[in-house]
């Protein structure tokens, strides 16, 4: 199970996923095509169009009938400069996922309550679901895809792997981004209670908290000031 996850995880692959052609057989594309086939079989031709509209409405283009212009923003995402056109209401999380195909950052509650969308802006952990992309012009963004360094897992990633600190894995990118930031923060105590408190903005509905805590504590002292 864990092996499967690791093999499929674009964050651990040597090739950044954004460099892959969209038709490449990634897990995401496979699931997408599976879903579309299922829907088409069930409901005929009307569905794919609805899906496309739904995707457009998710925040990367202006709302229908809107006259609001797009904004040009420049971001450094995982060290790579990016110039993007975004609508005023485009949310950072959606732009990273939909425009840059960086789908490692997860959308959970989409209202700042679950922490699945946690990433680093200029080295600080924030909820990307409560941020407009246009607010981040000039910022450095690190997502889970950028946590590894030179093809090696970040100590937090390695520790989550070793401690089996997840079940379904959906909250895991957010957990690891929070953990990486917490281990670098000299104000946050190293005892278990302090770590649990500092991690309380990341909800795990599988309840893997015990192993998450063990993983974070074991990664302590192994971070190299990265991300």
């Amino acid at each position: 199970m864990a092996n499967q996850d690791r093999k499929d995880n674009p964050g651990t692959s040597a090739t950044p996923i954004e460099a892959l052609p969209s038709a490449a057989p990634t897990r995401r594309n496979f699931l997408k095509s599976l879903g579309m086939t299922g829907i088409a079989a069930a409901s005929g031709k009307a569905w794919p169009q609805t899906m496309a509209d739904g995707e457009r409405a998710s925040g990367t283009a202006p709302a229908q009938g809107s006259n609001e212009p797009l904004h040009t923003i420049r971001l450094a995402v995982n060290g790579k400069p990016r110039t993007l056109q975004v609508a005023s209401n485009a949310v950072l999380l959606d732009v990273l996922r939909d425009q840059l195909q960086l789908t490692g950052t997860k959308k959970g509650c989409d209202q700042g309550q679950c922490g699945a969308c946690t990433l680093h802006v200029n080295g600080v952990a924030i909820n990307s679901c409560l941020s407009l992309a246009v607010m981040h012009d000039g910022d450095e963004i690190t997502t889970i895809e950028g946590l590894e360094q030179n093809g090696e897992l970040h100590p937090v990633q390695q520790a989550f792997w070793e401690h089996d600190a997840f079940q379904c894995g959906y909250c895991t990118p957010g957990q690891m981004m929070s953990a990486a930031a917490i281990l670098k923060d000299p104000h946050i105590g190293s005892d278990d209670a302090s770590v649990r408190e500092a991690m309380s903005g990341n909800i795990c509905r599988c309840g893997a908290y015990k192993n998450i805590l063990a993983a974070i504590q074991s990664a302590r002292g192994k971070t190299r000031g990265a991300a």
């Binding site: 925040g59 202006p62 005023s88 209401n89 409560l130 407009l132 946050i188 309380s200």
Partner: protein, 326 residues
Amino acid sequence: MRNFEYTRAASDEQAIAFHAQSPSSFLAGGTNLLDMMKIDIMRPERVVDVNKLPYKQIEVLNDGRVRIGALVSNTALARDPHIVKNYPVLSQALLSGASTQLRNKATTAGNVMQRVRCGYFRDGVSPCNKRDPGTGCSAIDGINRSVHAVLGTSEHCIASHPSDMCVAMAAIGAKVHVKGPKGERDIDFLDFHLLPGDTPWKEHALQQDELITHVVLDAPIAASKSAYLKLRDRASYQFALASCAAILSLDGGTIRDARLALGGVGTKPWRAKNAEAALIGQTPSDALFRQVAALAMQGAHPYKHNAYKIPLAQQAIVRNLGILSA
């Protein structure tokens, strides 16, 4: 989220001018505003991003007061060495609120401006005088256990104020410094948030075209100790059911000065001045603290599911004062 016109303000004047033009909101951290825009209970046509304005400093003034820039993050304020040393109650209150990543983003002025967590306000459909003036209050006869007040309520709204930071500021004493087209002014922190009364949609003393630039804390009370005690449904990342900010200055065995403010139980950050007066000049004791706690909750009005908050808040007061005077 509906779309809107986005403007990044390069100066106060620009921010104020943009803001005055149409239904508009200032955007700082965005942790509360964008949440409310996503659930469609705030629909500004214009959003004025103030993040480039130069209000990220914490300055100690010559008279001992502390001037906090509107954009200082909750994390930065909680960790500031001068705040930790001189205003532990404020640092503790900040760190008891929200989560690590939300505190990193949330700002001082944004925290002051945050809106209530009442489920009927946030659901977008229930009658709610705050969201839709004149439609009634669903919480009065509804589920009103956790984020509803027992102090300062009216027949039109009973939502409790959600902030922890503001409770500490109410205890410390502060001014909200604002700028508008007619110039600058100070609003006393205790006058900034309004009781719901007959107009629950009016939540604060700001004019539409005014921008918060700073919060200025009163100088710390000499030789005082302070602490924030927050009681909630779970140990972290939850709004207060009842909380107590207390500052005590002891002279030998006598209380020379005292400040007391409550969270989770009031429709605004609740300063209990009558209870403070009953502490001053007295010798700390459990009996005194119980008497003072009862005084602080005098006039509290319980609703169907939140009557427990009256004894809970009293226990928070007794415990916090007990810890501080030990």
